[in-house]
């Protein structure tokens, strides 16, 4: 039997490497042992995929969808229902780091294809992922590389590639940007089918050798007739690359860090952890799976429980996974996607190429009100199977005390670790109603009501805002 600590640690792993899991699944995972679970997560290909054919048959609007909410709903469906949690989580990670936004691209299904590319390459070699990224039509359009021509360069892609996608400010010169831009001339989108009158079509990458600058270029000390792949090869061997990537991974998977724009002046919160991740990168030649293996098995990860503010996607998906009210094919994923946008994280439409500001920046009065109301509304509703299961678990306890009710609810919702202030308030709230009773139909109904209200209150707590 796994101990309480074992389950808490698996719960932590599943919140970070996935979107959290209901209590019963956690116990089953904990039985396998922590390292085995990490290994399982790192190999999503061993788990069944989402049945896309079925998904598109039941939700026909999802395929080649027209409006952003549909493409967002497609992703929401996968995050909630996937049996490959890390595949979706790593896609979200790269979407944050390589932020591409529909505000300009105006083709949600095409950004959806970029996300699918993250699923496919997101746990592989960093260098290969960067090459795929450079070929992503949505990225090409987003950062204007279709306007980057031999003899008339557009630096936008070259600059962001170095500044935000790989090295970070201070690790390259303006000349390096120009060379990178020249090396990516000719990497463009094949002529597009106009949107009107039939709607949006997918775009295709095209390499045009006649528009590629074949001249000699010098990039980060390397000189030659460099092409895009050469640039990526040089980037992944720069000492700045693993450091920059490690900080991103740390911020997304381990603990909140300041925004990327300040990394040049503010050192990491845990420099030793960054060194461990850099070493893992160097030993594996930039293998993301290998780096994450080290990360999830490290002490700095295991001791970072509740050290991050949940992103809206984490809060929403985690909550409905716990409540079990969005299991399988059913309508309503649009609403989840919209809720995510209203809480400040519109998937496929990050505010800028810097991605979302995370940590405390997720929270303002409006967003917090939405987060609280969403989670309390879902987890306070006993008609949802996951909520019902928690209420049943409370009823099965040998004693009916208010303390037990609070302890079981907190345990079932995480186990969620709460501050003394929160615990004191939850207890005082629960004690107000005295002991639970389950003998008559009236007592049962009143006790069920009290448990679900307590769950709503816990979902509304400050503590529930953290992953």
């Amino acid at each position: 039997m796994p101990t309480k600590q074992d389950i808490a640690l698996i719960a932590h792993l599943m919140r970070r490497a996935g979107f959290g899991e209901p209590r019963a699944d956690l116990v089953a995972r904990a039985d396998k042992g922590y390292e085995a679970v990490v290994e399982e997560l790192l190999h999503p290909e061993d788990q069944p995929p989402i049945d896309e054919e079925l998904m598109y048959r039941i939700l026909p609007g999802y395929e080649g969808a027209l409006g952003p909410p549909i493409s967002q709903a497609d992703w929401m469906f996968r995050m909630v229902n996937t049996q490959r949690p890390l595949e979706e989580k790593i896609a979200l990670f790269w979407h944050q780091m390589f932020a591409t936004s529909n505000s300009k691209v105006d083709n949600p299904p095409e950004i959806g294809r970029q996300i699918a590319m993250f699923r496919e390459y997101g746990l592989g070699k960093y260098g290969e992922l960067l090459v795929e990224l450079a070929k992503s039509p949505a990225m090409i359009f987003w950062l204007d590389n279709h306007g980057n021509h031999d003899g008339s360069i557009n630096e936008n892609w070259g600059r962001e590639l170095l500044e935000l996608f790989s090295l970070g400010v201070g690790n390259y010169t303006e000349d390096d940007i120009k060379s990178a831009a020249r090396a990516f001339t000719g990497w463009t989108i094949a002529p597009k089918i106009p949107r009107n009158p039939l709607g949006r079509f997918f775009w295709n990458f095209e390499y045009k050798p006649e528009d590629h600058d074949d001249g000699k270029k010098t990039f980060l000390g390397h000189t030659g007739n460099l092409n895009g792949e050469d640039i990526m090869g040089i980037i992944v061997d720069q000492p700045a690359s693993p450091r920059f990537l490690a900080r991103h991974l740390y911020r997304f998977f381990v603990a909140d860090e300041p925004d990327v724009s300040s990394w040049n002046s503010i050192p990491p919160n845990d420099p030793a952890a960054i060194e461990i991740l850099v070493d893992a990168y160097n030993e594996s030649h930039g293998d993301i799976r290998a780096i994450l293996r080290v990360l999830f098995n490290s002490d700095f990860f295991k001791t970072s429980q509740f050290a991050r503010v949940k992103s809206p996607a984490e809060l929403i998906v985690g909550t409905v996974r716990m409540a079990g009210n969005y299991e399988g094919f059913r309508p309503g994923f649009n609403n989840l996607a919209l809720e995510c946008a209203w809480q400040g994280q519109e998937l496929l439409n990050p505010p800028s190429v810097e991605g979302w500001h995370t940590g405390a920046a997720w929270i303002d009065a409006g967003a917090l009100m939405r987060r609280v109301n969403f989670a309390a509304g879902v987890l306070g509703d006993i008609s949802h199977p996951g909520v019902r299961a928690i209420v049943d678990r409370v009823q099965l306890q040998p004693n009916n005390s208010a303390q037990t009710m609070v302890a079981v609810c907190l345990d079932s919702m995480g186990p969620l670790q709460v501050s003394d202030t929160t615990l004191r308030e939850l207890l005082s709230h629960a004690l107000n109603g005295g002991e639970l009773a389950w003998n008559t139909p009236e007592e049962i109904s009143s006790s069920e009501d009290r448990v679900s209200k307590l769950l709503a209150l816990i979902a509304a707590s400050k503590d529930y805002q953290f992953a």
């Binding site: 936004s101 609280v372 939850l426 400050k462």
Partner: protein
Amino acid sequence: MATTSQDPVLVILQLTGANDYLNTIVPYTNGYYWDARPKVNIPADQVVPIDDDLAFRSDMDQFKDIYDKGNMAIVHGVGFENSPRSHFRAMDIWHTCEPDKIGTDGWVAKIIRDLDPTGENVLKGVNFGQGLPRAMTMRGVPITSVNHLATYGVFSSVSGINSQDERTQLLDSFARMYSPAIGNGLTMEYIGQTGLDALRGADIIKIAPQQYSSTVEYGSTSIATSLKDVAQVHLAGLGTQVFYTSHGPFDTHFNQGGSHAKLWIDISEAVDSFFADLQEHNASENVVMMIFSEFGRRVRDNGTGTDHGAAGVAFVIGDRVKGGMYGAYPSLKPEDLTQGDLEPNYDFRGLYSTIVDKWMGLDAVPIVGGQFEQMSFV
């Protein structure tokens, strides 16, 4: 009756989805209009002429009344150079005043920041709708976003709260859970403070519907509900100076006739009720409403609807607005069109500047990102 201060108040109504300029202010005597709009037009017997060239569509008769009273400025040809035909990009540009790069700070949020630099009044800027428009987002600027005023508040989503007592109990617990505690870390402290702010905002704003009474009867449309909510908060005198709300969808590619008519019937009625309500309470003098859309629609119709265009029309309404037409209707001559669209001849940042500078009394340059030609409607 509540007294409101005389600080200038701005109400922004966003028409989401691109409003068809040509069928809103109709060039009803222009041959090019009839050439380009064989199917999607406003028949000559259904317009309400403003002059020999232009007319309101007939279902906007309340707008005509407001215009005749001299309280409405019609601003022609609004937009910007190289207007993108993408809703999302165009709306972003309107929201951030950044046509050349992706901006993150909203122009309305900058107004709020300049009105209330320390963020003391969480109700200085209020949005009615789901989620915040980018126009109102900026780090450190608190904005209250209300879906429906009647049900706004913490725990409004929890079903089965059986009594006011129970709600009060839950809210009290919430307040105590969010009260400051030592040693929980900066982020926890910040979230605690923000939770109390949200609770306070909801607590203050709930006064508005409680003390509201009016003989004006609004319609039951969503825009009427939103503007009634705006009126209630304005009349409660809570210090709100910018209200934001939106209505749509105006994206009338298909079967434009009925849907476009309904949108304008609903808006005209709601705007009319709104100002009647404020006038009944002597609270209209300090209010100006600006109505805009991200761009207009293509000159030539597509058989049943219209596709994305460029130049659009904006309205500025209020007791202190100098009514009339401002700017010029862009030429409909085929050779003057850009990709088949009306060419904008007035930068929207000039419209914003006029309002920010002459109405709100703030320096417009940092808010709209430069100097732009202002008009004299306020």
